[in-house]
Structure formats: C-alpha cells, structure tokens
Symmetry: C2
Subunit: 343 residues, 2 copies
C-alpha cells in the first residue's frame, strides 16, 4: 500500500494555517508575516511536501514542460542538441520531453500529438514534414531547429551558420596552401547539399575565385557514401596532393578509409576537411580536422527562443549560430612547400 503524497493542505494543517496562507508562504509572495512563513516552510519540510506540477499546470496553464522532437537521439549531433536544450531548460526548472522521429512524418505527427496532450508550454522541432500543417495545428509556441527548418520563412528557427562555416573552412585550406578542394557533398535531393554548394560559390566569388572548375562528387551522407565518393576521386587521373572538403564528418571519415584502402595516406597524399564536429572524429588516425556545428549552443538557443515565443515576444527569424574549426591533423601544411602551378 503506497501512502498518499502530502499536499499543500497537509502542510497548512501542520502549520496551523489555511491553504491560502500556506500557498502564499510557499510562493514567496507578499503580505505574509515572516514568522508565519517560517512555520509553513518548516511544516513543508517536515511532511516532505513536493508541489504537484500537474495541479499547478492545470490551474496556471503552465505545465513547466517543453517538447523536443529530433530525428534520432542516438545520433551524436542530435544528442548534443538535446543536451544543450536540457541544460538550458534545467536552469529555470523546466523539464524536457524528448522524442525521436526517425525522419518519419508519421512518427513526427504522433509525437506532436503526444506533446499537445501533455500540454507542454512549447516545442522545439526539427521538421520532417514538408508542410507546417501539423505544427500549425499544434496551436502552441514552437521553434524549429536544424537545416530543414530553413524551408519555412517567418518562423522562429535556430541553426548553424553554413556560410560562416564554409568561409572558415575554405580560408583555412588556403592558409594551409591548398587550392581548389574537391567537394564531397550529399545527394541532389537534399536541401543541405544546395545550401552547402551555394555557400561555397558565394565564398569563391567574394574571394575573387572562379568556383566553376571545382570538382563536385555526390554520395549518401554516410560512411559508405564518403568512401565510394573518395574512391571515385582517387580513380580519376589526378596529379599531386589531393584536398577534399566533405559536407559531413561521416563522409569525411569514409573518405579517409578509402584513402588508406588505396594504399595512400592522409594527410601526406590526401588532405581531408570534415563538417559537423562529431566527437568520434578524434578516433581516426590522423584525427579528423573539421568544422564543428555548435550542437549544444543550438539546443540552448532554441530553448531561449522558445521562451521568447512563449512569453509573447516572438522574433520570427532565423538565428545562425557560428561554427568553429577543430584542427586535428587530417590536413597537410603545404604553405611552406613550393607551390604547384595549375593550368
């Protein structure tokens, strides 16, 4: 037989006051005798009172919970995002309901329904569906995250700053003496591919370089996709040091495996630059030099924006979080060596 959990009435009784007074004391409100408050606090401690958030949410309309819908909590990047959101939410005593959608619109819809029913105060969503119907029906404040959020204008969203990231990467390559990197990018269907290539083009034009001759190779956003793309590159006739900029760390690591498979070595024969910043980039040999997306910051900032949204001061714009370079050794330094004239 599990015993009943103490309520504010138990506290009030023990302190010899009414439940209104007990509530006032616990809320730290005004108009209460310090001595009375002390009695109530002592009583609450004594009976082991814990406020019932269900009741609070019911009465106040604020459940103190937020929803987080990401593709997969077991994916390192999304786990980082979740962690950032969690930490920021915990600072203000808010709990997070976490769901994984597996890039499946049906699951996404189910999860959003669960969030509506749980009466979360708002939600952070990496949208899978092409439309915002489910989210509109959501009828609650929400903030989108990730690159897929960029399809929707006039909605609050948080993502990484691809333009800045690409600039960072390409400038670093140039500083290390590399020219015209081969670009290993995702499949044509993916929005992220277009945005990555656009950023590269913009950067080249800004630096007065013609982006047209850059070699672009396709592949799935996976280890195997990167490996195949790299094999394709190595099997083309080529000359001198090869430099590769992969749109994703998985592909970059796959490319590194391919290099070794062909009996070449990184970074002596091939330089590889990744993009994501997954921790396991440190597990390869040499460690993967990459541009890290600020997953944790994105999660934290999304919670921040969501609070704004909830408080009724929405920004309705996209926030771009800056990326940073992690230098681990997969890039050769050719800047001291004699330049190879091309063309």
């Amino acid at each position: 037989m599990r015993k009943r959990r103490p309520t504010i009435i138990d506290v009030a009784d023990r302190a010899g006051v009414s439940k209104s007074t007990a509530a006032r004391a616990l809320a730290g409100g005004e108009n209460i005798l310090p001595e009375t408050r002390g009695r109530v606090l002592t009583a609450a401690q004594a009976v082991g009172y814990e406020p019932n958030h269900l009741a609070v949410g019911m009465r106040s309309g604020r459940s103190g919970m937020l929803g987080l819908v990401i593709p997969d909590i077991a994916n390192p990047f999304w786990a980082e995002v979740a962690r950032g959101a969690q930490d920021r939410a915990a600072e203000v005593g808010v709990s997070l309901l976490v769901f994984s959608s597996d890039w499946d619109p049906q699951k996404e819809e189910n999860h959003l329904r669960a969030l509506r029913r749980a009466r979360v105060d708002g939600a952070i969503v990496n949208p899978v569906s092409d439309t915002l119907d489910d989210l509109d029906r959501f009828g609650l404040p929400f903030v989108l995250i990730g690159s897929s959020a960029e399809r929707f204008a006039d909605v609050s969203s948080v993502g990484s700053n691809i333009t800045q990231a690409v600039t960072l990467g390409l400038d670093h390559l140039v500083a290390k003496g590399h020219q015209a990197p081969v670009l290993i990018v995702g499949p044509k269907s993916r929005l992220a591919r277009t945005r990555f290539l656009n950023a590269v083009n913009r950067h080249c034009i800004e630096r007065d370089v013609d982006p047209a001759p850059l070699l672009i190779v396709d592949g799935e956003y996976t280890l195997e996709g990167g490996r195949e793309a790299m094999l394709q590159v190595l099997d083309r006739p080529h000359f001198g040091h090869v430099c590769v900029f992969a749109a994703n760390d998985m592909m970059a690591i796959g490319a590194m495996l391919a290099v070794r498979e062909r009996g070449l070595s990184c970074p002596e024969d091939v330089s590889i630059l990744g993009f994501d910043g997954i921790p396991s980039g440190a597990f390869t040999f040499p460690g993967l030099t990459t541009i890290a997306k600020p997953g944790r910051d994105i999660g934290a900032r999304a919670v921040e924006s969501l609070f704004d949204e909830i408080e009724g001061r929405p920004e309705h714009g996209r926030v771009y979080m800056p990326c940073r370079l992690i230098d681990r050794g997969s890039l050769a330094d050719l800047s001291r060596e004699p330049r190879q004239m091309v063309g």
Copy 2:
C-alpha cells in the same frame, strides 16, 4: 490572443450530450449507443479535441510520464539506452522526461526532485549516489540501470551480462588462435574493473586455464587512458603477436592509435578486442572488433520492468541482457598459422 483549447465539455455540447457521456464515448467504454458514440467522436474531431493529460493525471493518479536519469545523453551508450526506453514507452503512449546527471550526485538529486514534482509514474535511474536515500525519498516505482546499479541488492535493475560478454570475447580470441590476452582495464577505484576481472577469472577457471599469468594494465576509461596503457605494453619486452582485450571501446581505440604511433599495425602485429559496441568503433581502420552492450535493449527492458513495478508486480532482481560480438577486423586470425609455443 491565443484561443482556449477545446475541452470535453465543448465536445459534449456539440454532440448534444452530457460530459459524462462524452467521456464514456471517448474512453471507448461500455454502455453506450453506437450512434451516440459516433456523434461524440465526430464532434471531437470537429472541434479538434485533445485530452488534457494534466487533468487526466490529476484525476486518475497516472501522469503517463516516466523519468529517465542517465549520466549524459551525449554519450553514445547512454543515448542508445535512452532511445530504447523512448521507443518502448512510445508504444504504449507514455512520454519520457530525460535528464543528464553528469555523474554528479547533486544534479541527480535535483533531477529526481523535478521528477517527483512532475508526478511521473516511475523512473529509470543510473544511480550516482552511493546511497539510495534520494531514491527512497522518491516514493515512486523505479528501476536502476547500468553497472553502478549492482551495488544495490533487492532492487529491480537492468544491465548487461558481463560474464556472458567476457566468455564470448575470450572464446572468440581462442578461436582466432590467440592465447593469454593482455587486459587493459579501468582504474582500481572503479567497480566495473573488479567485475570485469572477476568475469575473466571465472571464465579461465571454467576453461581450465590459470588466470594468474595474464598481464593486467591500468588506465582511465578514455582514449588517452587506452593509448598510455598500450604504449606501456608495447614498451615492455615482448615477443610475437600481441593480443589485447580492452574493457572499454574508448580505451581500445586509444590502444589502436598507440599501435600505429609505434609504427606497428593492427591487426598484423597487434590484435585488439574492445567492449561496448559504440558505433564509432566502425570509424577506425581497421574497424574495431568489439563486444556490444545492448544499450537499446537495456533501455527497453528497463521500461518493461518499470511497468511491472508500477503495476505492483515487482521482480526486485537484476536482469542481465546478453551482449553480442561485432567482428570488424581488429583481430588477426592466427588459427591457421603455426602455433607459437609459450613457456
């Protein structure tokens, strides 16, 4: 101005019935005219009714939420556990409140308090504190997970089967022609170290081998810890092929880096067997052969046990989930080669 969310009364009014009848129809209960139920369901659909779980939880005493407190959601193993728990919970329409304790008893306590206040129906906890005080005070059904749970007897807990895992690993090593592996284990203070070594001893005795001569090397449970341990092994005078069984994938990967650092190669000169099954074990070259802990299954089984606990049919014992071997190539096959006589 955000408009009020429809309640069961709105549904009842629109269907022209009382809220009792509406509730019965929605609950799919007995004693209701099929035609009436139809009208109610249509009305619910029309007004976009979503049951308020806060109110349900308040009235029924079941919030439909579970708590999950793990060390770090950004750690691949724990992310897998979370994913497994999530999926199992979602099957029955239960939501998960996820918290990261960072192995910090203070944070653990705060998270448990948050769970109590949210009135979750139960919690799954990887315990950090040495005592169960916080959990006892929890006053709710709970299930422990992970190896740190084994400190506590007479409590429901779920973890991986270390004994079976070690048997699997050592038998596999023998099948590949290896003898007397060097054991790279964690620091003396850790409980997991003892349990790992005990399992090795038991296995040796069972297979009629003297475990005494096995070389045991210490290190932190990190990449660097594994690297240093391996360097130590390689710098000792040794002879022939070296075989290493690391108690953790991170250490195994660190060991692999050390091998390459000394100009040797894996698996030609050194064979390495890991333990954990983190996905990034596939990123090394060669891929890490390892014994995978069933993180997802552990999470799912913990939810299962927690349901039992909640329903009042507690088992109060430890469940050991079987591990499996992932063969990726970091072990040389010496079984066809001439045996090296030792001693």
